[in-house]
């Protein structure tokens, strides 16, 4: 009898353990975002949550002063003007980008990327812009070059201060995309065996050669960015592909499913933090 009871207890314990293991593996975006944000606010207790969107410039007082000075004559200003002009210039068919987006494309940056339930995939702002061009008979533009950076810079600027507001609809495919993005973020790759988290979770504020690493929290809120290192503007696509090359990994094609899912995850966990793009980085 005692043996039977022990056996029943052991089986019950195994079932509970199995259930909790399954629970840990089940995607929980709300819980993830809370834990993610708490990790950074605990690590940098002097910073307010909205400070994180300034990347390395939020990491110490000297850099913050540099950022304030830079913002007086921001290096992304030319891109902003070019983007505004491109945005309002009609396509050959007379339509403009404004015709492709809700609210005429103004003040909507915080809603991108979103999960399109009809297509079953993540749609980023960069992808939506090229789709707009193609739908209006124009050739798509490079995801990593200046024109795309200028357009997204202007659209981000019209959303400055608005809290990131990424939604995960009640669709298992959306949850799967989120989970895949999360997996990509933490997966080590390249000959240097780095994941995104190696730099932007384990080491924000630390130097890697001459650079100060940005925290992952709010990292996309500042996109696109002017980087002194690039001597020019860069899109989210450029940032992802460059990160992969720097760790000696062959970058995927810009706007591949993996990168779009990564953007979905990273943006979601920064929900509530203000859009600060376009940004400037050392």
């Amino acid at each position: 009898m005692i043996r039977l009871a022990s056996l029943a207890l052991a089986l019950a314990a195994i079932s509970i353990a199995a259930l909790s293991a399954r629970a840990a593996d089940k995607p929980d975006p709300v819980g993830d975002a809370k834990t993610f944000q708490k990790f950074f606010t605990d690590k940098f207790p002097k910073l307010k949550p909205e400070d994180f969107v300034n990347g390395p410039y939020s990491m110490n007082e000297d850099l913050h002063r540099q950022w304030e000075e830079k913002e007086q004559f921001p290096p992304y200003e030319f891109a902003l003007e070019a983007g505004k002009e491109m945005f309002s210039k009609p396509f050959k068919n007379g339509k403009t980008y404004a015709d492709c987006f809700p609210n005429g494309g103004i003040g909507i940056r915080q809603d991108y990327p979103y999960f399109d339930e009809k297509e079953g995939k993540v749609i980023t702002l960069e992808l939506a812009l090229n789709r707009c061009r193609e739908a209006n008979g124009e050739a798509p533009i490079s995801y990593v070059r200046d024109d795309m950076a200028s357009l997204t810079a202007y659209m981000a600027y019209t959303s400055r201060g608005k809290p990131m507001s990424i939604k995960i609809p009640n669709d298992p495919r959306a949850l799967e995309a989120y989970q895949k993005g999360k997996e990509y973020f933490y997966t080590r790759r390249g000959q240097l065996n780095f994941s995104c988290a190696t730099c932007h979770v384990q080491s924000p504020g630390e130097r890697i050669r001459a650079e100060i690493l940005a925290p992952a929290l709010g990292i996309l809120n500042a996109m696109p960015i002017y980087r002194s290192e690039w001597s020019g503007m860069g899109t989210t696509s450029r940032r992802f592909t460059t990160c992969n090359s720097q760790i000696r990994g062959v970058p995927l094609e810009p706007q591949s499913e993996e990168y779009r899912d990564l953007e979905y995850y990273l943006s979601y966990v920064s929900n509530g933090l203000p859009i600060s793009g376009p940004g400037a980085r050392p």
Binding site: R189, Q191, G249
Partner: protein
């Protein structure tokens, strides 16, 4: 007789080692390419593997098959390491997650 044997050994030891052939290179390169294709299927190729493959092709084009084979073997080893990384990270990524 002894002198004859001595000279035979001397000639044999002073003959240059056989240089690698184009066929040897092709075999080594094919093995590296197969491994790199698998890394590509896993979406985890390394830039260093690509550089070693390019180096192998360049050396072969210049007729330096010893160098071409060495580069091919290096590429194969790197590609296999990237496959191992991609496979092991299927579960290991969870260790890095913020909890």
């Amino acid at each position: 007789m002894r002198a004859l044997l001595f000279f035979a050994l001397l000639i044999a030891s002073s003959a240059p080692a056989l240089a690698a052939s184009e066929d040897d290179f092709k075999t080594a390169y094919a093995a590296a390419e197969t491994a790199e294709k698998e890394a590509g299927r896993l979406r985890n190729q390394w830039t260093t593997t690509e550089a070693a493959l390019a180096g192998a092709k360049k050396a072969a084009a210049n007729g330096d098959f010893d160098k071409a084979i060495a580069s091919s073997k290096e590429a194969e080893a790197l590609a296999k390491a990237s496959i191992f990384q991609a496979t092991s990270e299927k579960e290991r990524w969870k260790d890095m997650e913020i909890r």
